[in-house]
Structure formats: structure tokens, C-alpha cells
Amino acid sequence: MDIKAYIALSLTLFTIGIVGVLTRRNAIIVFMCVEVMLNAVNLLLVAFSNMHAASTAAKALPTFASDAQIFVFFIMIVAAAEVSVGLSIIVMLYRNTHSIDVNFLNRLKN
């Protein structure tokens, strides 16, 4: 299994996320698309870590590849935190406007 396959896969997911962000107007969906992007990254990181683990230099220390996985772990942490904040913002917005359409509010322009 070559790394390129994983790159392709995660880039595709990443792009799907982007396109989602661009095309949807529902704040929650948009936010979920961002989550998709993050997951694409996670996948890629893990793949890379194993790639490095496969490389000769890695043989030296066993925990070599775990850096990336720790990183992914932190990404998840951050994602969780962001979700809590993000959702609270969206809820607040909904409370004030009864809409979560990202284009509904554009008082701020020009």
C-alpha cells in the first residue's frame, strides 16, 4: 500500500469538506464539513506516521511513529473544544435570529 493512495484519499475528503463549506448555508453543516477536513488530516497523519515507521531510519526506536498519533490525539482534543464553542455560538445566534443560515446575517459588509 503506497502512501500516495492515502494522500489521494485524504485530499479527496479534504476537498469534499471544502466544497461542503462552500456550498452549504446551514451553519451546522458547514461546521461539520470542517470536521470532515480535520478527519482527512488525521487520516493522513496516521498514514504518514506509518510511512515513516516503514522507513529504515525508524527501525531504531519503536515509538517512532507514535508522534503523529499523539498529534492526531491532540487534534481531536482541539476539535472537541472547538465543537463546544462553535455549537454554543450557533445556539446563541439561533436564539437571537431563529436562523442558522450563514448568509442570513450580513450587516457587516463593505
Binding site: I3, I7, S10, F14, G17, V21, A27, V30, F31, V34, M37, L38, A40, V41, L44, L45, A47, F48, S49, M51, H52, S55, A57, A58, F64, A65, D67, A68, I70, F71, F74, I75, V78, A81, E82, V85, G86, I89, I90, M92, L93, N96, T97, V102, L105, N106, R107, L108, K109
Partner: protein, 467 residues
């Protein structure tokens, strides 16, 4: 290190103060004390570092890199924050109920700032930036009744999350392309000649993400709206301290990780710099609301700071320090005055020179500094930046372009000055009851600081060269 720990701890303290202390004014003083404590701790560390003996030595596994440069920078940031508290503390209280929490969040941001000033691995860069951003999403939306504030925070949050994704993608590619398979920024194997494609891709992703954080065109679109919508106090905070921190992270990453192959990515920076200068300056010309104008001007200033990323030499570092100080002090000052205004449009400033000469004078000093008139800190910082860019040979035209746009910037800053001095005062420019004498004194001190740095910049830069 001290700064990181203490600011985090103090953040927790503030958080609880919000719970236990009912009085609305106490948290402010607590925060002021806190920032002073952090500052002193940092100063001690800086001093200790310069004489070569660190007191408490936490083994960070090289994940943090402490040196006089970034300690000085932290010192500058903390000083600016102190000034910010002193000038606008009372306005923070006005924003809403959770005064303690606001301060707590600000402290967390400071913690993030310190992280992104000292990080040595991409992981901590990521964490630092996130710790900077997430509280800001909140602060932006903290004026809950105000739809503008809501809108701003939503926009900021969505685009921020988006940029986080991009940055992570960049980190992933850099990690993948790095044969050493490590996240340490000074342990990235780029090799000779053109860098590996994956590194290149990752690098571009990083440039995009960081440009977003420092609001450099064409990734600046969140800036005007967010700065405009957020409560003015927090705009003042995030448009100064957070932004310069972003730049510091930017410079730090690209100096340590990709400094060797500068030639291969400089064009991108040039492109971004020119775009930023153009959009920032030109769009600011038309603005009617001073707040929004300042938002655009902050983009314009970012364009100048990009020159530091472009140059990446010692002069650039000095310039960045100076810029951090000059730009932050001036902007905080202007915002502090702006908050007091009843009318945020330029006409709102009409005749301020007659009704409040001192305030008008200080504001003028700040604006002159932002324009970059000699004898103000603003000139020195711009000057250092230009020098840095010029020393980095080959693209002198960039310096000239930057200067041309600086001339344009005179246009919109001076509109405010004209309004203050040469127009007749309208109805009730400021209601005097929230102009306290200490406020005036602080304002004057800020103005004097600007002049002092303008006359003798080594006052700031010198710290880098003690060792």
C-alpha cells in the same frame, strides 16, 4: 516559560474570581496585578537568561525554545496588555456580566501568545494558535444582545475553524515530507536544491493558514467584519496583541524551518505583501466609520509586517519587535479613545481638538505614529522594516511599493486629524463622565511612550542584544 505558566494559572484565578467575586470592578484590578506579576516573572527570566542562569528549569523536551528574542517579545506583549488593561479596563466591565471570565479568557489568550512565541514544535504552534483563537471567538461574540457581535463571532469561528483545517493539512504534509519524521521545526530535513513536493505543499498550506491568522490578503476577509462587529475593547485587543503574536509565530516558523530555502517561497510572500498593502490601504480610504477604517488600516499595517517575513534577517526581528510595540500601543490608544466616542463615524471626531485638547493631542500622536511620521515609534518600526526588506537583496522595488502605499495611508489617518482640529464640534462628542483623570494620564503616558520609542528605539530593541 514563566509567562506561559503564570498566565495560565492567573487565567484560572480570574475564572474563579468571576464566580466568587460579585463586585464588577475588582476583577479589573486583579487582572492588572496579574499582568504585572506575569511581566515581572518574564522580566526575571529574561534577565536570568541574559546572565545565563535560568532559575526554575522545566524540562520541556525542547518543545519550547526560550531565547532573549522571544522573551523580549513576550515582555513587549505583556507591557501592551498592561497598557490595554489600564486604558480600557473599565470598558471591558461595560461589555457584559461575566467580567471575570472575560479577563480569564484574555489571560488564556496571553498564554497562547506566549506559546506561539516560544514554540519549537508544530504541535505547540498548533496548540498555541488554537488557544489564541478559541477565546477570541468567544470574546467577539461576548456582546450577546448585539446581532453584529453575533454575526462577527459566527464568521470568525467558521473561517477560523476552516483555517485550522488548512494549517493542520500543512502540518501533515510537512511531517510527511520530512524524512526525519519529526515535528520539531528546527529538525525538518529539506536538503539541498529544490525542496520535496510534500514540504512545498505543506509550506504553502502553512503560509495560507498563518496569513489568515495575521489577516494578510487574500485571506483577510474576516478581518473587517470581525473587527467591526466585535465589542470595541476586544477589537482593540485582538487587532494588536494577537495579530503581532501571529506574525511572531509566522516569522519564527519560517525562519527556523524554511529559512535555508527562502528563495523558493519568497515570491509567495511578495505576492501576499503587495496584495495586503494594496487592499488594506486602498479600501481604508473610503471608510466612513473609524472603527472599520482602523480594521482596514490593521490590514495595511499587516502588509508592512509581512516585510519581516519577507526579509527574515536580524533587522527584520528588531523591526518586528518595534512594530509590535509601536503598532500595539498606538492602536490600543486610538481604540481607547474611540470607545469613548458617541459616534464612530469620522464626523464623530469633529472638533475634538476644541473640546478635549489633551485627548485629541494624544490621538494625533497615535495616528501620526500609525502613519509613520518621524519622531514617533511608528516611523522607526516602518523604517526598520524597510531597512530589513532592503537588506534582503534583489527586491528593492518592494520597498518602494510599500512606501507608496504608506503615502496613501496618510490619507485616511489624516482625515481623522482634520476632523478633530479643523472642523467645528458637533453635539456632545464625548460624554465627559466616563473620561477619568487616570485615563487621561494613561493616554498621555502612551503618547509619551510612542515619542520615546520614536526617538530612541534601542529602548526596545536593545534587549535582544544583552547576551
Amino acid at each position: 516559560m514563566n509567562a506561559i505558566l503564570l498566565s495560565a494559572i492567573w487565567g484560572v484565578l480570574m475564572m474563579f474570581s468571576g464566580v466568587f467575586i460579585k463586585s464588577k470592578t475588582t476583577p479589573k484590578y486583579l487582572a492588572i496585578v496579574g499582568i504585572i506579576v506575569v511581566f515581572i516573572a518574564n522580566a526575571l527570566e529574561l534577565n536570568a537568561f541574559n546572565i545565563g542562569s535560568l532559575h526554575l528549569n522545566i524540562d520541556t523536551k525542547e518543545m519550547l525554545n526560550i531565547n532573549s528574542f522571544n522573551l523580549t517579545f513576550i515582555a513587549v506583549v505583556l507591557a501592551c496588555t498592561l497598557l490595554f488593561f489600564l486604558l480600557s479596563g473599565r470598558d471591558i466591565e461595560k461589555v457584559g456580566e461575566h467580567v471575570g471570565e472575560y479577563f480569564a479568557l484574555i489571560f488564556f489568550v496571553i498564554c497562547g501568545v506566549c506559546l506561539s512565541a516560544t514554540y519549537n514544535t508544530l504541535l505547540l504552534l498548533f496548540l498555541g494558535i488554537e488557544i489564541m483563537s478559541i477565546p477570541l471567538y468567544i470574546l467577539t461574540g461576548s456582546d450577546k444582545r448585539n446581532l453584529k457581535s453575533n454575526e462577527a463571532s459566527l464568521k470568525y469561528f467558521l473561517m477560523g475553524a476552516f483555517s485550522t483545517g488548512i494549517m493542520l493539512m500543512g502540518i501533515a504534509f510537512i511531517y510527511g515530507g520530512n524524512a526525519n519524521g519529526s515535528f520539531f521545526i528546527n529538525n525538518i530535513q529539506i536538503g539541498e536544491g529544490t525542496m520535496p513536493v510534500m514540504i512545498a505543499v505543506g509550506l504553502v498550506f502553512m503560509i495560507i493558514a498563518l496569513s489568515f491568522k495575521v489577516s494578510a490578503a487574500p485571506f483577510h476577509f474576516w478581518t473587517p467584519d470581525v473587527y467591526d462587529g466585535a465589542p470595541t475593547v476586544f477589537t482593540s485587543f485582538m487587532s494588536t496583541i494577537v495579530k503581532v503574536a501571529g506574525f511572531f509565530a509566522f516569522v519564527r516558523l519560517f525562519e527556523n524551518a524554511f529559512g535555508k530555502v527562502q528563495g523558493q517561497w519568497q515570491n509567495l510572500i511578495v505576492f501576499i505583501t503587495v496584495m495586503t498593502l494594496l487592499i488594506g490601504n486602498v479600501t481604508a480610504v473610503f471608510q466612513q466609520s473609524v472603527k472599520r477604517m482602523l480594521a482596514y488600516s490593521s490590514i495595511a499595517q499587516a502588509g508592512f509586517m509581512m516585510l519581516a517575513v519577507f526579509a527574515l534577517n536580524d533587522r527584520a526581528k528588531e523591526g518586528l519587535l518595534l512594530y509590535a510595540a509601536a503598532y500595539s500601543i498606538a492602536t490600543i490608544g486610538v481604540f481607547a479613545v474611540l470607545i469613548k466616542m458617541n459616534d464612530y463615524t469620522i464626523e464623530g471626531f469633529n472638533g475634538l481638538g476644541k473640546t478635549h485638547p489633551l485627548i485629541a493631542l494624544c490621538t494625533t500622536v497615535f495616528l501620526l505614529s500609525l502613519t509613520g511620521i518621524p519622531l514617533t515609534a511608528g516611523f522607526q518600526s516602518k523604517f526598520f522594516m524597510l531597512m530589513a526588506a532592503a537588506e534582503n537583496t534583489g527586491k528593492f522595488w518592494l520597498v518602494i511599493v510599500a512606501v507608496l502605499f504608506a503615502a496613501i495611508s496618510a490619507y485616511y489617518y489624516f482625515r481623522v486629524i482634520q476632523a478633530m482640529y479643523f472642523k467645528e464640534p458637533g453635539v456632545e462628542v464625548i460624554d465627559d463622565k466616563d473620561i477619568s483623570t487616570p485615563f487621561k494620564i494613561m493616554l498621555a503616558i502612551a503618547a509619551i511612550l510612542i515619542i520615546a520609542i520614536g526617538i530612541y528605539p534601542e529602548f526596545v530593541v536593545g534587549w535582544m542584544y544583552h547576551s
